[in-house]
Amino acid sequence: MLKYIVRRLLIMLPIILGIIFIVFSILEFTPGDPVSMILGQDATPELIKLKREELGLNKPFLTRYITYVLDIVRGDFGTMYASGNSVGEAIARRLPVTLELSILSILLAVIVGIPLGVLSAVKQYSIIDIFSILFAMILSAMPGFWLGLMLILIFSTKLGLFPSFGVGDGLISFILPCITLSATYTAVIVRMTRSCMLEVINQDYVRTARAKGATESHIIGKHALRNAMLPVLTTVGMYFGALMGGAVIAETVFSLPGLGTLLVSGITAKDTPTVLGCVTVIATSISLINLSVDVAYAYIDPRIKAQYASMGLVKVKVRKRK
């Protein structure tokens, strides 16, 4: 298994380099000269030239890209143009907020979405089924930020139950942002779980289990759910990236001090190092999380493990039947 993980990490490297390259090239088009932004309007030409050299802006594109990558490897994300603060420190301070928000939201989406999807499939065409389909439909058509603002209106302003901004109150301050961010993904998971369960329930082995006289809860829990979970897990992993993108908007609604708000403020201030750093870190976290999802598959599904075993990447313990 370790071999497999290492191999996947090695494949990830060029992808991350590619991501940085894409973002780096896109940000090349940013209008305006960073030097005049740092020094202000009335800087002398000599000073501008010196500063350009100091920032390495006079070097060709590829050289700057390579220097940037090497700097990141050493943990140096550069400094912000306006304040001169370290970008790396700002990211390190804010990353936990974004990660906490995203992970809690995915958990919430899974905790709400999977049982609802299973119920809906088991009791197809019942009231519960119709309710959960409607619920998923409305959630997926709703803009996240609107839901967030509505939650603020109802639960903070009118009822005073939850704070409407910041992370000052610990976990409680994450409740509304998590609901906001998880809405779309809850909808996706409900639909996915429902259709996968429906497919699995009609399979022969489920009928066999039923014929053997297994209890309904055993059939659903042991036979159906386990097999239906794999595509659902794939979806969860796939959508994690989109979720971290959506976090930018959720953080803006609730003014959370996360990477998203840092990114938006970097964009507004035309602060290229901040934007570059944020996008790189978010994209890298996504790749890492996708990797962990892939590894998790192998544990859930023995078939995948066997596949890797045939490639000589993992050892499979063969359990002997007593």
Binding site: I15, I16, G18, I19, F21, I22, V23, I26, L27, E28, F29, T30, P31, M137, I138, S140, A141, M142, P143, G144, F145, W146, L149, M150, L153, T157, G241, A242, M244, G245, G246, V248, I249, T252, L263, V264, G266, I267, T268, K270, V275, V279, I282, A283, I286, S287
Partner: protein, 290 residues
């Protein structure tokens, strides 16, 4: 004679699809509501004057409740909410339709090249797609808008670019599946050119799924453009756009909830109708996937 036979068959197919579509009540409702939104966007000029009703601020008429003169009331600058919603529909549809077309067409071309020719070119194109897809579409769009500066055109460019890789992958998978089919083999055997095979033999087989996919992505594009305008990276005020309207309402909505409810409901209803329409189309075109 040959041409006639083909059109007759196409007509029969169309009627068959429409018959299946009609049975799905939710999809028909989606079609009706979406047509209404489109009609509203197209006829906006008949009912409202852009400069007078949508842009001009009127300090005397701030936060008016709904009345005969202002059916949905007025906003924080005394502008008619209904007029802004109607023109907002025009903006939202303009952006999302252009994005859908501009991400589908290049995606089709890339997907066709990768899927049909295969080999090295395919792996290179797909690795590039992988890299683009490793960055979430919304984040990608944010980065591009950040580089180009916020405006409607740049918003359309950004969302289109971020949508190309997924269309390309989708097209590639379909082309790859069809490439090995017998009718393609036989077309090649009689010496049909690559371009003609792609255009006459493969494309007609994937066009319906491509349209379904484009319809389904229309809804998410409306949501994405509203989201970007909300964080200030899209349509700039005073131009009316649903997301930007919600963003402007942020300071006032606790006292005037209608400023929040109306644009949000407009987005919700439009996206819901597009999604229902897309789901219905998918089921009608391909009964197997149901």
């Amino acid at each position: 004679m040959r041409m006639k036979g083909r059109t007759e068959r196409a007509e029969g197919q169309f009627i068959e699809i429409w018959r299946r579509f009609k049975r799905n009540k939710a999809a028909v409702a989606g079609l009706v509501v979406f047509s209404f939104v489109v009609l509203m966007a197209l006829s906006a000029d008949l009912f409202f004057n852009y400069e007078e009703d949508v842009i001009r601020q009127n300090a005397m008429e701030r936060f008016q409740p709904p009345s005969a003169e202002h059916l949905l009331g007025t906003d924080q600058y005394g502008r008619d909410m209904l007029a802004r919603i109607v023109y907002g529909a025009r903006m939202s549809l303009l952006i999302s339709l252009s994005v859908t077309v501009m991400s589908t067409l290049p995606g089709l071309v890339v997907g066709f090249i990768a899927g049909y020719f295969g080999g090295k070119l395919d792996s290179i194109l797909m690795r590039i797609c992988d890299m683009f897809m490793a960055i979430p579409a919304l984040l990608m769009a944010i980065t591009i808008v950040a580089a180009l500066g916020p405006s409607v055109t740049n918003l359309i460019i950004a969302l289109s670019i971020s949508g190309i890789p997924s269309t390309a992958r989708f097209t590639r998978s379909m082309v790859l599946r069809l490439r090995g089919e017998e009718f393609v083999e036989s077309a090649r055997a009689v010496g049909t050119s690559d371009f003609r095979i792609m255009y006459r033999h493969i494309f007609p087989n994937i066009v319906s799924l491509t349209i379904v996919n484009a319809t389904l992505s229309l809804g998410s594009m409306i949501l994405a453009s509203a989201g970007l305008s909300f964080i200030g990276l899209g349509v700039k005020p005073p131009a009316p756009e649903w997301g930007a309207m919600l963003s402007n309402a942020r300071n006032y909505f606790t006292d005037h909830p209608s400023l929040l409810l109306i644009p949000g409901a407009a987005i919700l209803i439009t996206v819901l109708s597009v999604n229902l329409l897309g789901d219905g189309l998918r089921d009608a075109l391909d009964p197997k996937t149901k």
